[in-house]
């Protein structure tokens, strides 16, 4: 047979040959041609949902923060009383300080001439609420306990500075450019601290800008989480590194009228194994309890695929070559071919991997002390990219490989997951906390795409174990001098 006739034979054989088409194929085509109406609605858009979630978290944080600020401001305004702290002619010795009750007495009976001396030069109770602050001025110990109660949480800066200022008249804060700028309470209290500690000489500054610049170069600002004598300044930026063993729950259901037997058979060939995830998160503290966290994490779901194919036939061809000498004296090589066929079964095992890179956006509320904290977390996990590798049964019950390039069953992006967790943190070092966080991740969408004959989804329960590093602990610098 020539090549031409061979080609013709092949063409004619295949040209009109019709292979059977899988059941449910028509349904799948129809489904693609007429996408469900609700698919077009904006609330089915996972990107929109994630944006909405992030916006909600940010809005809630802002509202919460503003609420805290308003509460503290309103308290301050309501109880704005200027006590007469007549400390003059008293030596600064802690043993001789008036007690709270004495202060209360003094404040409850304010002197008649209070208004003469302190009108504008006030500072909020920012030094430290219910605390004591210690100063060291030119080698002498001056300890001044500033008692504040809910009733009296504003002090006359003039009276304080006039007392402190007796030893250093040039540092009278009431003469500084900031004296009238009471609106900026944090700046004002910083000036007070710096002046009391003699870190700056107010007479050197003529404008606000110069003064602020001077304070900035000294790294002397305290905007939030301000320290007290008992507690250092709080850091507000953390790095969390964690790893988690994960237990995964898989759900499969029918999407295109495929035979239920197939789903059962598929399910019987696959079993979930221990999975894991690892990542890092940056967290920023807002107020005393609220943290917003974001970062990046890698997750891997492991699955074992075992397939037993029956009636496997193995054929072995044996070729025996022997020489035979003919009567004519010629030697002839004779090849005998025989074939052996073995019938049995074969078990094929493959470990499937479902991998993803995600961005967590999480809000946490934490409470407790420096040594031990607890917290609850909730948020979303946005998938950046997913890829899968392994094997699974196709509708003709044959194992088919899926991988990064050729896999058409699975999505490259699995959308949004909802995250919730509970965490416990234990101090492990000066700037390190150890934490454990049991969590649950619910994936909103399927891992399979619309073309697939089945829907497959994973939900993950895990235990994040890791370390939290406090990043900006240098903010405490000037208290450790």
């Amino acid at each position: 047979m020539t090549d031409r006739s061979f080609d013709k034979f092949i063409k004619e054989s295949l040209n009109n040959y019709a292979m059977p088409v899988a059941e449910g194929m028509w349904d799948r085509i129809q489904k693609e041609n007429n996408p469900k109406v609700e698919g077009a609605f904006w609330w089915k858009n996972y990107g929109f949902i994630s944006l909405l979630g992030v916006a909600a978290i940010i809005t809630a944080s802002i509202i919460l923060l503003n609420k805290n600020k308003e509460t503290s401001t309103s308290k301050t305004q309501e109880t704005s009383v200027t006590p007469n702290l007549n400390l003059q002619n008293q030596s600064f010795n802690s043993k001789q300080y008036p007690s709270i009750s004495e202060y209360n007495k003094t404040v409850s009976k304010p002197a008649a001439d209070n208004n003469k001396t302190h009108t504008k030069s006030k500072v909020e109770n920012g030094l430290s609420s219910n605390s004591a602050a210690a100063y060291n001025i030119k080698g002498k110990d001056y300890s001044a306990e500033i008692y504040t109660t809910k009733k009296y949480n504003k002090l006359s800066i003039t009276s304080l500075t006039s007392n402190l200022g007796n030893s250093e008249p040039d540092n009278d804060i009431s003469k500084t450019p900031l004296a009238a700028a009471e609106g900026s309470s944090s700046t004002y209290k910083t000036v007070l601290f710096a002046t009391a500690r003699q870190d700056i000489n107010l007479s050197e500054y003529t404008t606000n800008d110069q003064l602020i610049k001077g304070l900035k170069t000294l790294n002397f600002f305290c905007s939030d989480g301000c320290p007290s004598a008992h507690e250092p300044i709080k850091n507000n930026l953390n790095l969390e590194i964690y790893v988690s063993p994960d237990y995964t729950r898989k759900t499969i259901n029918n999407s295109a009228g495929v035979d239920e037997t197939f789903l059962k058979r598929k399910d019987s060939t696959e079993s979930i194994r221990l999975s894991f995830s690892a990542g890092f998160r940056l967290s920023k503290t807002f107020g005393n309890n609220l943290l917003l966290k974001t970062g990046m994490q890698y997750s891997q779901i492991n699955e074992k695929f075992s397939y037993r194919s029956e009636n496997e036939r193995k054929q072995t061809t044996l070729i025996t070559i022997r020489k035979e000498i003919l009567a004519t004296g010629d030697t002839v090589m004779i090849r005998d071919t025989s074939m052996i066929e073995q019938i049995g079964y074969r078990v094929k095992t493959t470990f499937n991997r479902y991998r993803s890179i995600d961005i967590p956006l999480i809000a946490s509320y934490e409470w407790g002390n420096d040594n031990l904290k607890a917290g609850v977390s909730a948020g979303v996990i946005l998938n950046l990219y997913s890829w899968q590798k392994g094997e699974s049964l196709d509708t003709s019950y044959v194992p088919v490989a899926f991988n990064k390039d050729g896999g058409r069953t699975f999505k490259r992006n699995i959308g949004v997951g909802l995250f919730t967790g509970f965490s416990v943190l234990k101090k492990a070092g000066k700037s390190t906390d150890f934490f454990a966080e049991p969590y649950f991740r619910y994936n909103v969408s399927n891992i399979t795409n619309n073309r697939s004959v089945f829907n497959q989804k994973f939900d993950v329960t895990g235990l994040n174990i890791g370390l939290r590093y406090k990043l900006n602990t240098q903010r405490q610098r000037y208290f450790n001098r």
Binding site: M1, I10, M19, P20, N33, V398, V400, R451
Partner: protein, 159 residues
């Protein structure tokens, strides 16, 4: 109904261009979606089946272009097909031929399909696959030989 009439034939085409049934089904599905999408563009000027075939083949080729196909030569092709008697083919059904074609290396298979069954010239194949026409020719020769060898082996086993 259009689908019922042509689905089987179109599936055969898809199987010829894919490495497994799952991939073939994907091509089939995508092809039929396109067919329904562009059905109004058919001008009744030629064969309707030809038009369908063209869309399915184009879809398959689009799928092929996404993959990196090696058009390397396979050198272990000892020619055992010479003098193959015509009756060697008589026992072969279409399904057997399809299986044998599927066993060809991907580069061979695509060139063989495009030239022998679809009737593209080597220049057209070269343009479609972005290869040299000479490569297309050599791939076809090798594919044909490999196929003939396989048929030869089958025939020997049958005897």
């Amino acid at each position: 109904m259009l689908y019922k009439a042509y689905a089987g034939k179109m599936m055969t085409i898809c199987l010829r261009y894919s490495k497994d049934k799952m991939e073939a089904e994907d091509i089939f599905q995508e092809g039929f979606i396109r067919i329904f999408q562009y059905l109004h563009q058919f001008k009744f000027e030629g064969s309707f089946e030809g038009w369908l075939r063209r869309i399915i083949v184009n879809t398959a080729l689009k799928n092929v272009s996404k993959k990196r196909i090696s058009f390397a030569e396979v050198n272990d092709l000892d020619d055992h097909s010479g003098g193959l008697p015509p009756y060697a083919y008589s026992n072969l059904g279409a399904e057997d031929i399809l299986k044998l074609i599927n066993q060809l290396p991907e580069g061979y298979r695509i060139v063989f399909n495009l030239h022998i069954i679809e009737g593209f010239t080597h220049e057209e194949i070269a343009k479609i696959l972005k290869i040299q026409p000479a490569t297309s020719r050599s791939q076809l020769v090798k594919a044909r030989k490999m196929l003939q060898n396989q048929i030869n082996v089958l025939q020997k086993i049958a005897v």
